[in-house]
Amino acid sequence: MTSVYEPWDETRGAEIIAGLGDVEGGTIVMLHALQEAFGYVPAAAIPMIAEARNLSRAEVHGVFTFYHDFRHEPAGKHVLKLCRAEACQAAGGDALVARAESKLGISMGKTTPDQRVTLEPIYCLGLCATAPSAMLDGRLVGRLDEKRIDALVAEAQR
């Protein structure tokens, strides 16, 4: 499963923002909607949100940069998130993270040079009784072991 995003388009961005104009306190809702459409929140969208919500650009930029979810640039074709929280640590997650990093040749938070895979930490998917766990493009995988992490990495690289 790959997420297919639209290329940034100002008219389309304005449409999305206008469609959410009535949402009370909806700045984050707008950011989510833009990222869902374009795969990231283009810098050009920030002043557009500010205008629509009658806020300063600084305020919207502040919200955008506060939350881990929002991307400043497109991610790789596949996003592999590995849980780093305590329950997954207790179940041997750290070693699997190191394994994935070495297989992909990148560290956490980075994208492979061919733009295929972005590797990201996530702090708890709530799968703590089937740890360690991961999410590949929105698909959840639990009870990770060396074999399963290798398969996930290979799938992401395809």
Partner: protein
Amino acid sequence: MKIFIPLDAGSVAVGADEIAAAFVQLAEQRSLDLEIVRTGSRGLYWLEPMIELAAPEGRVAFGPVTEADVGSVLDAMSNNAEHALRLGVTDEIPWLKRQTRLTFVRCGVVDPRSVEDYRAHDGYKGLERALTLGTIGILADVSASGLRGRGGAGFPTGIKWKTVAEAQADRKFIVCNADEGDSGTFADRMIMEGDPFVVIEGMTIAGIAVGATKGYIYIRSEYPHAVIALEEGIKAARRAGWLGDNIRGSGHSFDMEVRVGAGAYVCGEETSLLESLEGRRGIVRAKPPLPAHKGLFGKPTVINNVLSFAAIPFILNDGAKAYADFGMGRSRGTMPIQLAGNIKFGGLFEVAFGITLGELIDDVGGGTFTGKPVRAVQVGGPLGAYFPREMFDTPFDYEAFAKRDGLIGHGGIVVFDDSVDMSKQARFAMEFCAVESCGKCTPCRIGSTRGVETIDKIRRGERVAENIAVLEDLSNTMKFGSLCALGGFTPYPVMSALKHFREDFGPPPAHLQAAE
């Protein structure tokens, strides 16, 4: 033939969707009349995916089922025959039978997309009674139940609701905190995915009790399945007249919507969550004013955890006394405890307060899945204390844990075996706080980074005794100088690791002093 396959994220993560597809395909090949109902999880995660068959003797469970087993399991189901994975009648499985399921009674049983199924399992009876009681009657029941906030703080729910009910305002709000960020906890996720209507019903009752007509449920973005379950649940409840204007002809109106978080742990703190709901950075607010007086958009707001709302329908339907009869001391009712990490039998164990930590870990949980001895358990998420085996006699109770410098938090327990390095865990606690701090309070924002650096020095063996003194001092400052639990409670895992596992923090002081 009717079978039940979980759609719970924990079960899906170990193959439930693929297995459901395999059952469909095989049934078609065999021209078998097979009805598949997707349910939540029963919470016996080591047995997931656990598939149940509607048999004459009741639901019969099989698990953990892999794709390779589907053919033989279907054979066994068709003939209601023996199979290596057959676990017997689900309700008779000892791990489930010894629980007291009040909040989770329907989870894993009903179809979470069907309001009719919810009704058929006593759903909305609490709201029906609430509509006849009115504000004073509902508040009396909630207070008498002894329910305390299940998010972790343990504040009496009845008092919170009464404060909002008495506040005068043009608008009031009900907010459900579903930002379950603590590692080792998944009860909110499970109930939202497996029985969303119980949360919706609880929030609706709160709305009627305090005079609020709008509710928000703030769900973390890491829980996409829960978001879908709640959105579908809200739509179904509206269609059936359980949400919206003039609920079931009562004259009361209440509606709600889902808002999705954006990956900030601190937004689980109630004032930070309110800021986020208003579309701002999740910066913690100073209290007072309390959210009950000035909450969402400056209006009186009831903000409770998912499990608090989910406990309400039982209390209203079965009576406050039925709930309060369970528990110990000032901790009344049941707690959905989550056993996680390196544990043999991990999952959701709802039980009356008072069970000891040792019973939970050794007896219920069966120790570690690696088979090695349990060395430490962290109770209450990333801000909870690490307890060694010597403290396993601690009963699960708000006050008993506080007395031992710990907290039960949201009821998560993460088990570690003897390969754990406790100074590394202490470092992680500080590092996590540094990453997730909202930045408002200096002790939390700066102290956590200094904490990481200090623990690194200790781990390298640099002036260990002095640096431990610095760490203790720093923890003290964070504990008493931070506005919210993130900075204020990060010292719990750090100090407990240091106190109970001193040997992991460099050479002991006497030896060091002699060397110096």
